[in-house]
């Protein structure tokens, strides 16, 4: 956006200031529970909550000594990455297809939404029975991954499609008239324009998969994902190391996203440089 347009966009300086104040308050409230988690992670008490009993780092020590935590992290990251790639890919294809008219379009739309409408427990049990009939053993890259893609796909679609929706198709048609094949048109015209939304959707999809646990509980084998591991700890015991684990996870996820964002920014700067935008 040109700076003139940016100025227009934000209109008066009063509005800008108001928005800044609002946004800061919003973020502060958003982060209050996180702050609480950090505070509690240093609490020298096996009961998660107040009163505070003094400072300690032993929960963090326990976290790094727990091998199941590390393997659950790897599992969650692996499944999350795969689920993100597949779901966003499918969502993109669906989104591009949805630009046209075809019969039964609203039926397909409702079908895409079904995994969100169905409560998690039902979804989990039904998938469990479904996999049972097909004799598919519960494991990370079959049953769990499928359950995650099911869950993530509608969100990926709903997030990505509005961005694809109003895409100016005359650009594509023009490129095709110039002799470009559909794939080339996609790679060089369509994708660069929707790429930021695509990346945001991938990150969103990853987060959704990372956090999913109700359906996963029913279709999981031994390899636990992080939420499943957390849940099995708290359901009938105290789990004082949980806040510390949560903090570690946030830090790792944040670091990886930061790296991803840096890589993406460097790449897009280079490409802008080259194409002279």
């Amino acid at each position: 956006m040109s700076s003139a347009a940016q100025k227009m966009f934000a209109a008066s300086p009063r509005l800008r200031a108001a928005l800044w104040i609002y946004a800061i308050s919003f973020y502060v409230i958003l982060y209050a529970p996180l702050l609480m988690i950090v505070v509690l992670s240093f609490n020298n008490s096996p009961i998660v909550g107040f009163p505070l009993h003094g400072f300690t780092i032993r929960w963090y020590q326990k976290v790094f000594a727990t091998s199941e935590f590390l393997s659950a992290m790897v599992n969650s990251f692996a499944v999350g990455a795969l689920a993100a790639v597949v779901s966003t890919g499918l969502a993109l294809l669906l989104g591009l297809g949805f630009r046209r008219t075809f019969p039964l379009k609203s039926a397909l739309f409702n079908l895409v939404l079904m995994p969100i409408v169905m409560p998690g427990i039902v979804g989990g049990i039904v998938l469990l029975l479904f996999f049972g009939y097909l004799n598919i053993r519960p494991s990370l890259y079959t049953t769990v991954l499928i359950a995650h893609i099911n869950w993530v796909l509608p969100f990926a679609f709903l997030t990505l499609y509005p961005r694809v929706h109003n895409f100016d198709s005359t650009l594509e048609e023009a490129a095709m008239d110039l002799g470009a094949r559909p794939l080339e048109v996609f790679i060089h015209i369509v994708f660069p324009i929707i790429r930021p939304a695509f990346i945001a959707t991938m990150l969103f999809s990853f987060s959704l998969s990372f956090d999913e646990f109700v359906r996963t509980l029913f279709v999981t084998g031994y390899d636990r994902t992080i939420p499943v591991m957390f849940w099995s700890k708290i359901v009938d015991q105290l789990a004082p190391e949980l806040p510390a684990m949560a903090v570690v996870i946030i830090l790792i996820s944040a670091t990886m996203s930061l790296l991803g964002a840096l890589v993406s920014q460097r790449a897009s700067v280079r490409s802008q440089y080259v194409s002279g935008e």
């Binding site: 009961i47 909550g49 009163p51 692996a78 049990i125 790679i187 660069p192 999981t220 031994y222 359901v235």
Partner: protein, 372 residues
């Protein structure tokens, strides 16, 4: 022109992600699919609550039997049953432990021949003779074959803060403590239709709530709704309940046996009441799915779990009760009192968990209470 600019971005990055994903996946395959191989000896696949095998108890079991126990994640009795009943479920797991009253219906089936479990070869389970009488009665037998054997027990009672509620207060002698207006706004029940309706019915004087009529149930519901404002909240998780008491948000609540130990160990002045209507006694039993490929190994494990060493370790680490007499006898009378192991011997009134005659109606009554 700009067309052939080397954009190392979109497609490459996607390919890279997919590739690294595949690499990671194949690396993980080592740990993932099917049964994890153990270094030496057998291994069995189990579903049981995490509290059954805390560290020391697990070492005892695996040490004496040479069998490694791999546990699939456990959520509730429901998912245990779901996994057993799902097609192929009876061969996928070797040992399950869950709340007897809840699972015995689907697990044993309606009539002989419907069982989803394999009978125990009791010759392989000599330790079973040591079961306390009250739990011997809970062994599930059909046509002379033993199908489910209790492994541990727990009891639920009103927990209260001794610094905020006097132990001399007569209210502490009954479940009515939780409904009393003196402590209005400071008590909590568990968000569980069965347990909450049972204790309400007990308070109202029903000797055996499980056999209540629909009319009785309606009365209980009416009473509960009238007392709705007395409760601060209804808890669902262990840690949540403990936190409610330790933070003082609540001063009396429906509580589990290990919660009291956890709170006391943390310096919170709390104890449990022995209501005259009875504390709720329940147990969890072990059973072997019908087509388990490692049934003998499972039997070894069950026998080890009925040993006194295991019982002592379980009581010390999980604060639940061992079902065998020798395990309890290993504790002094004082220790038994502290850990709640004397529940079967101190002469307190007990109410054993029993599946209600119409659970569907109970669930709806509880829902109506919450929605009122």
């Amino acid at each position: 022109m700009g067309r052939k600019s080397s954009k190392p971005t979109s497609i490459e990055r996607r390919k890279f992600l997919a590739l690294s994903g595949a690499v990671a996946a194949s690396a993980m395959m080592e740990f993932g699919i099917d049964r994890p191989a153990s270094a030496a000896g057998e291994s069995i696949v189990g579903i049981m609550p995490g509290v059954v095998l805390p560290k020391g108890a697990r070492e005892i079991v695996e040490g004496t039997t040479g069998v490694k126990v791999e546990n699939a994640p456990y959520v509730s009795p429901t998912d245990t049953v779901a996994k057993l009943l799902a097609p192929g479920g009876t061969s996928r797991y070797d040992l399950m432990i869950s709340v007897t009253e809840f699972v015995k219906g689907p697990v044993l089936g309606q009539k002989a021949g419907d069982e989803k479990v394999r009978p125990f070869d009791m010759a392989k389970i000599p330790n079973a003779t040591d079961l306390q009488p009250v739990f011997k009665q809970q062994v599930q037998v059909r046509a002379g074959k033993t199908l489910m054997i209790p492994i541990f027990y727990g009891f639920d009672s009103p927990l209260f803060r001794t610094d905020l509620v006097s132990e001399q207060d007569a209210r502490t002698q009954t479940w009515g403590l939780l409904f009393d207006d003196k402590y209005a706004g400071k008590t909590a029940l568990r968000d569980d239709a069965y347990q909450s309706i049972v204790v309400t019915a007990l308070t109202l004087g029903h000797p055996n709530p499980a056999t209540m009529s629909i009319g009785d149930l309606a009365e209980v519901k009416k009473f509960l709704i009238s007392k709705k404002k007395n409760f601060r909240t209804l808890w669902t998780q262990f840690g949540e309940a403990v936190n409610l008491m330790s933070s003082g948000e609540v001063i009396a609540m429906y509580g589990w046996m290990p919660m009291r130990a956890a709170l006391q160990r943390n310096g919170v002045k709390v104890t449990n009441a022995w209501p005259k209507e009875g504390v709720l006694l329940w147990n969890q039993a072990a059973f072997i799915p019908k087509d388990s490929p490692h049934a003998e190994a499972s039997e070894k494990v069950v026998n080890a779990m009925l040993s006194s060493e295991f019982g002592v370790a379980l009581a010390k680490e999980s604060n639940y009760g061992p079902v065998t007499q020798k395990a309890i006898a290993a504790f002094s009378t004082d220790e038994q009192k502290k850990l709640g192991l004397d529940v079967t011997t101190r002469g307190a009134k007990l109410y054993s968990m029993q599946w209600p005659s119409d659970m569907n109606a109970w669930i709806e009554a509880w829902g109506a209470f919450k929605a009122a």
